[in-house]
């Protein structure tokens, strides 16, 4: 086939393209995956008594932390879905949020009596927290990958990592509906580790899964 013929074919298939397709597809994926993860949290793990929890600052501290990371991750994924677009400030913002949370957790440890520090840091559920967040991230990650394959990411490892990060952060936010742990040091460590695991999974698998 001559290239000129191909161009004729493509011109014959010209049609108006809607605006905002990238944002809409990614948002749909986040919502769809988030609903699956929410259902798993609500039906399997069970939510903690939310009315009581919502009165407590620690509940919002955790939700704010992972919620902001979700936002930074989603913005990064969007930028990476547009060929040639600069990544700009979102990853830096995510790094700063994590550093602030680590500082908050460290401060809390230091302000605690030495013999009580380990209990504060590990809480009751440190062993299952990060693995559960990784598990809960999978449905969201799968939806994001499906959406991204229909778009045109050109930096696959990085895009996979960003998708994993956003999925992990949203999963951690929804996990907060169940998780009764209250310490900033706990969230700064085990939540962050769960999100980091999802990011690593995205970086490793994205390269293969995102080809178009």
């Amino acid at each position: 086939m001559r290239t000129a013929d191909l161009i004729e074919l493509l011109a014959g298939d010209a049609r108006a393209i809607r605006r905002g397709v990238v944002t809409r597809k990614l948002l749909t994926a986040l919502i769809a995956g988030g609903l699956v993860t929410f259902a798993i949290v609500a039906l399997w793990l069970r939510c903690q008594p939310l009315l009581a929890a919502a009165q407590q600052p620690w509940f919002w501290m955790k939700a704010g932390y992972t919620g902001l990371l979700t936002l930074a991750g989603a913005i990064s994924v969007r930028r990476l879905s547009i060929p040639g677009a600069r990544l700009r400030a979102a990853p830096l913002a995510a790094a700063l949020i994590i550093l602030a949370m680590l500082a908050l957790g460290a401060g809390q440890i230091l302000a605690t009596a030495p013999q009580a520090r380990l209990a504060l840091w590990l809480g009751q559920t440190w062993k299952i927290c990060s693995p559960l967040i990784l598990l809960l991230a999978l449905p969201i990650y799968a939806c994001l990958i499906a959406a991204l394959r229909a778009l045109a990411p050109t930096r696959l490892t990085l895009t996979g990592a960003a998708a994993g990060f956003a999925a992990g952060a949203l999963a951690a936010t929804l996990y907060g509906l169940h998780c009764p742990e209250q310490a900033a040091a706990f969230a700064a460590t085990w939540y962050t580790l769960g999100i980091a695991a999802a990011t690593a999974l995205g970086a490793v698998t994205g390269r293969r899964l995102l080809r178009w």
Partner: protein
Amino acid sequence: MLQQEETEERLRPLMMRSLEGDSAAHRQLLGTLGRYLRGYFARRIGSASAEVEDLVQETLLAVHLKRDSYDRSLPFTPWAYALARYKLIDHLRRRHRSIQVPLEDAGALFAAEDAEEVAVRNDLERLLQRLPDRQRTLIEDVKLRGLSVEEAARKRGVSAVSARVMLHRSLKWLNQALRDENG
């Protein structure tokens, strides 16, 4: 730099009209882009390579099908360059060559036009033969006989709308087949 701004000013309005469904603008955009792509790929993998024209075609198909990933508030040339560079890297990786594609300014793509179509190895033509008959004949009518999609539809006794859908599906299928067989 100035030259790239000039290219941007020339191509971006075409892209805008193409996104509104203007097929003449779309044709003109792809034609111009094809000439730049040919020059860019030839500089990167050697102008004698029969793979240049296949890569041009593959990239034009991708530009066409991935138009919805373009953000209208951003410049056009970096978008086109990123797609071209991705296709080039993908191509080299498939052939297990060492991958050294410098990340340059978008100007690298728009340095020189090359209008001379070179021999094509014809990945697309071969894949075309695997399409179902109805889709293949529609494509051949448009491609070889120069009919508009509407004329081709009338000739085959299908509605213009379903002919358009068929054409679009065929193009998407070709794009995927290219990816999968090169996997």
